[in-house]
């Protein structure tokens, strides 16, 4: 039924830790010269982004997903040891793996907290040609304070719990302070240095990302072309409303296709192919296959 190929690969951080990678690509026909690297949001696994991969592949893109180390998913490490810096290293490793495999600069598609890492990686390397983020976090301290109901930057805790997953407080906080992850200013710093086109989708019903922060981050002497698309009545979890998710996919693909000088409109993958792929991936994540 499906017209895409799905493969499992892996890469490693410099210290040897394994990062699981999944690729999804058109089974036949031309592949656009801009692979997509999809960075899942915090506490989300590769399989949650199966629709992004399927929409991308059905529109001619080679799509790469990965699970960060010390995170949920099938890469090395546990969520307990999660840090923002290791999440960033994981994205960087996925970008490098994709660039080395294809010889092409990538478009990073990142959601939520991983958007912050995407802005930083884009500022650091020309292996990133373009960035598209959804409900992207720009002010880590403010967003985490909203998520947890407490500002851990100023009021530290031994452990934080997110969706039932425990995170080592001192380890996370030490990294966040030391590597300057907290502030809006740190995000602006990287957005000013990143020359690539960057588009962000914000949700007007997103309780965790303040549109004013996004506007401030994107408007302060931007390093390259910037777009802010405001998805009306979209929550932080875009997948919750399939109509919102589909709108995001199609607008994202419109931009990516235009960047590849393709004038055709994006198409939807067949519903049943989406279901089939989603179940295959869930079973892999669960260890059934």
């Amino acid at each position: 039924m499906t017209r895409v190929s799905f493969e499992q690969h892996e890469t490693h951080l410099a210290d040897g830790r394994r990062i699981a990678i999944w690729t999804t690509a058109p089974r036949e026909g031309p592949v656009h010269p801009m692979p997509l690297v999809v960075g899942a949001g915090f506490a989300r696994r590769m399989h949650h982004f199966s629709p992004v991969a399927m929409w991308g592949a059905h529109n001619g893109f080679f799509v790469v997903r990965y699970d960060p180390v010390n995170h949920v998913g099938i890469s090395d490490g546990e969520m307990w040891n999660f840090t923002l810096s290791e999440s960033c290293e994981s994205l960087r490793a996925a970008v490098d793996w994709t660039y080395e495999r294809t010889g092409q600069a990538v478009a990073v598609v990142a959601t939520s907290l991983t958007a912050r890492m995407a802005y930083q990686v884009a500022a650091e390397t020309d292996r990133v040609a373009r960035v598209i983020t959804a409900v992207g976090v720009v002010h880590v301290q403010r967003t985490l304070a909203k998520v947890f109901g407490q500002d851990y930057a100023t009021d530290p805790v031994p452990l934080a719990v997110f969706e039932g997953k425990e995170i080592n407080g001192p380890r996370f906080l030490a990294d966040a302070h030391e590597k300057n992850w907290w502030s809006l200013a740190s995000t602006i710093h990287f957005l000013q240095r990143a020359r690539q086109p960057i588009t962000t989708f914000i949700g007007t019903e997103d309780d965790w990302v303040d549109p004013a922060d996004v506007n401030a981050a994107f408007s302060d002497a931007p390093g390259g072309p910037r777009r802010i698309l405001s998805l009306e009545r979209a929550p932080h979890d875009l997948s919750r409303d399939p109509a919102v998710a589909r709108t995001f996919f199609l607008l994202m693909l419109e931009e990516l296709l235009a960047a590849c000088d393709v004038t055709t409109k994006p198409v939807d993958p067949p519903f049943e192919a989406l279901m089939e792929q989603s179940l295959v991936e869930r079973r892999i994540q669960r260890g059934d296959k």
């Binding site: 931007p222 802010i228 409303d241 709108t247 519903f271 089939e276 989603s278 179940l279």
Partner: protein, 383 residues
Amino acid sequence: MTAEVVRAVAAPPVVERIAVAATTDLDHLIAGEAVFATPLAEQHAMRDHHVRRTLAHHLERCAAYAAFAARRQFTDLPADLAAIPVIPSSVFKAARVLSVDEAEIAKWCKSSGTQGAQSMIGRDRTSLERLLGSIRAGVTLIQDWLEDDLEVIHLGPDRSEAGDVWFMYVMSLIELLYPTRHFVRGGVFDAAGALDRIRALAGKRDRHVAVVGPPFRVLELIETIERAGQPVPGGTGMTVLTAGGWKRFSGQRIERAAFDPRVCAAFGLASEAQVRDAFNQVELNTVMIECAAHRKHVPPWLYAAARDPDRLTVLPPGQVGVMSYLDASATSYPSFIVTDDVGEVHEGTCACGRAGTTLQIQRRLVSVAQRGCALTLDSGGKK
């Protein structure tokens, strides 16, 4: 694409700002976190609005439904919901009734059709996504579990084996929401395997366990447990969710009043509130799930009414009649149906504390051989 892109405020040179209408009122409602938490009057207002909009869509796009409405001399708009023509669900056995081009159909869905003709319902992407949304919303009546909080033991086949048979297909979709293991393979129910897995999960107690299947399969599993002589230590960490109808293949009715205590005893459940039933039929695009008070809550995009069986007039809440539905969530076909089920509708505050419309299905109107979706499973073998 359907989203309307509106160029907004002129921006500084390199920052472009665009506002996008990303969803519809109805999709926003179905995806919302408070589907069953709004006051009754608000639910009615939303329901009336969405059903009327969907009525206009079907009158415009479905020639068969428009002709049916014309024959019923239905012209009043905006319509009193009780006056909107309802199609006998058996019509879908004889004709493919569509409100979209056939090319837009993502899945043809078949009723179980244990004997005789089968209903064929064409669903487009929007209808299927909204159906999934109704399951997600309905599950919150049990509990709003996160993905990793729950493991499902499904006493049926996976999606590939379920094929186009509606009831089995719908039940298999729970795997899209929660980690799920299926225990019917090649038409054979692996009761021992299901029980082993349930016992293993009950022992770990690191997540909630949902045993999901048609009542007759649950009874088969109970018989396996009873033969072993050792109840499952389910406690408060397990829910048994049934769907698919309350008859065995033999035609013998499974009595709910006796079923729940037996489930509780076999699975060691702390309360009968942990036994829930779900209702759907292939012509209906919404799945309704029971609350703790064992009432099936009707979401605010669906008008459910019991009707006088002879004149099809809508009966007041609490009176028993043939069940009918105006389901605004289906775009590809008019899910404006009168069914073969006998039941009653209630309005007000449920014993669970939620305001809204609830329904209870009592029995089938006719006693011919069409005995419900669950029976296609009941005819399978055992392991």
